[in-house]
Assembly symmetry: C2
Homo-oligomer: 124 residues x 2
């Protein structure tokens, strides 16, 4: 399996839980030293404990009725793979689109996310 296919499969496992309000699969992909940029946080979150605490607010809150990972692309070098894609969230009459950057690193325990940056697509 090439890297892009493998990492997209890992993303799907994480997002299948996330969109239904279960952050545990997403948290399991994160490296202990992960850094995160994401609305609604006012600053970068540094490290898994900070991310885990912040994600508790989402537990039990479904986000999307369904989703698509669109146009995934991997830029890889050494043990680092930068995965980028468009995330399309179906949510009744209010669909939304996000830019997603996931920087993965191959560790002895498998691929882990060391940096994640999601932002809502806004054309103005």
């Amino acid at each position: 399996m090439n890297i892009a296919r493998k990492l997209v499969a890992l993303e799907r496992q994480a997002l299948d839980g996330w969109v239904k309000g279960n952050p545990d699969h997403d948290l399991a992909t994160y490296d202990p030293a992960v850094t995160l940029f994401q609305t609604p946080f006012a600053t970068r979150l540094d490290g898994l404990p900070a991310v885990r605490e912040s994600y508790e607010r989402y537990r039990g809150m479904p986000v999307c009725d369904g989703y698509e990972i669109v146009d995934p692309k991997v830029q890889a070098s050494g043990d680092i793979a930068v995965l980028t894609f468009h995330f399309e969230c179906r949510n009744g009459s209010d669909p939304s689109r996000y830019f997603a950057t996931q920087v993965w690193q191959q560790k002895k325990e498998g691929w882990k996310v060391i940096h994640t940056h999601w932002s809502k697509v806004r054309t103005q």
Copy 2:
């Protein structure tokens, strides 16, 4: 000079031009295969020609009266360095803050940005 200090210095050279409406220094930091996520673009821009064309709309348009790179952090492995920081743009009575992700790769011609993702900080 450590990597973080070197990359922040390169960012400052690029941003000193950018905030005054000159994208050339910023474009000079980009790898030919750069990928970019940024408002107001509706999709990821792939490759330097697409980015260069899109940046022309900003030429001659000053963005900030001044700026700060706040809390820069580097996560490095092999020839890749993920630089993240908060970008604070002073603009009269309307300051703005951005999350900035810059993935740099050390090439034979020096450090180049292979992926860039900027998003406005929104706490709701």
